[in-house]
């Protein structure tokens, strides 16, 4: 019983709505790298859909936009580690 309750709880916590579906006025644009930064990790990796909550269509668009922004040096391909020892 306890396990089942926990599982249900997690499902509720994880449910996120796609930002771009919720607000139709938002445009995904590679030039707007500041909002794309929201979908990258500190190291510059693209955050997966299961965590960002984007729908498939918009995640694809975000991915292409990030790749374009990387190409023109708006976003890093990979950021240097914050630990100097590495």
């Amino acid at each position: 019983m306890a396990v089942r309750q926990e599982r249900e709880k997690r499902v509720f916590q994880k449910r996120k709505v796609c930002r771009y579906c919720a607000d139709k006025n938002l445009v995904i644009d590679y030039k707007d790298f500041k909002s794309l930064k929201y979908f990258t990790t500190e190291r510059g990796k693209i955050i997966p859909r299961r965590i960002s909550g984007n729908c498939a269509l918009h995640q694809r668009k975000v991915t292409v936009a990030i790749q374009r922004a990387r190409n023109i040096a708006f976003l890093p391909f990979s950021a240097a580690s914050s630990h100097p020892s590495h």
Partner: protein, 114 residues
Amino acid sequence: MRRYETIFIASPELNDDDVKVIIEKTKGLIEKMGGQVEKTDDWGTRKLAYEVKKKSRGHYIYMKFSGKSDLVAEVERMFRINEGVIKYQSVLVEDKPVAKAAPVEAPAEVAAEV
């Protein structure tokens, strides 16, 4: 005819006049090959996310134009020859044909600026 937007990064060591020369040269080339320049924007010197040709800053120029695909190839060829240009990227503008896009596009661009 399709619409494209090109961003190119000029070396930060160039002075403003040199950059202007590149912009004018590009405009001239676009018009000579039957294209139309819609918009030119100078975004100034910005920090790059990573080093390009050993430089950590770059002078960004944005251009929007319409033309055929061989025009884009020619513009890019010119950027490759010009040593003042350290990076460039051309992207097809994903709008529907101009006649249909006009009413749809206007609010979309306002949202992008906010």
